[in-house]
Symmetry: C2
Subunit: 87 residues, 2 copies
């Protein structure tokens, strides 16, 4: 299923979160990712992030798009991410 | 219509972008907002951001949710934003 993910972590945990999210999703903006994840991939991504983050401080927010064709994305300014972002 | 907004700006333009987005949407995480916008509010938000940002460098990404009930939000870790986030 299509997903958007945003995270807000302490600066020292940012590189680890970036590396992990990049293994599963497309980077489209600082701390913002998009992509397709199976339920198993979703679980494994969350398991990896649980190991790396301080969940009392850091925050990860995932948007599961039930019907991605109903989600329009509009960019103002620079297109930072992958040219063929997945949404 | 329900919207998610993320921005990635040069640090010196961050406070202005934060102030502007807060006038229209709920802050849920650093540089991440959610909320309901009419077409007129959307235009006025973008007009304000155009004034404040360097669109050759900064990036704003808006997700228009055609059917928000099909968008599930899952948070891992701290719930940073407004308790009754809008999605």
């Amino acid at each position: 299923m299509k997903r958007g993910l945003v995270y807000d972590t302490a600066v020292e945990r940012n590189p680890a979160a970036l590396r992990t999210c990049r293994q599963y999703l497309h980077w489209v903006q600082r701390s913002v990712f998009e992509g397709d994840l199976s339920a198993a991939q979703h679980r494994s991504l969350f398991a990896a992030l649980r190991q790396q983050l301080d969940l009392s401080y850091d925050s990860v927010r995932v948007y599961r798009m039930g019907s991605p064709h109903l989600v329009e994305v509009e960019t103002l300014g620079a297109e930072l991410g992958h040219p063929d972002s997945v949404l």
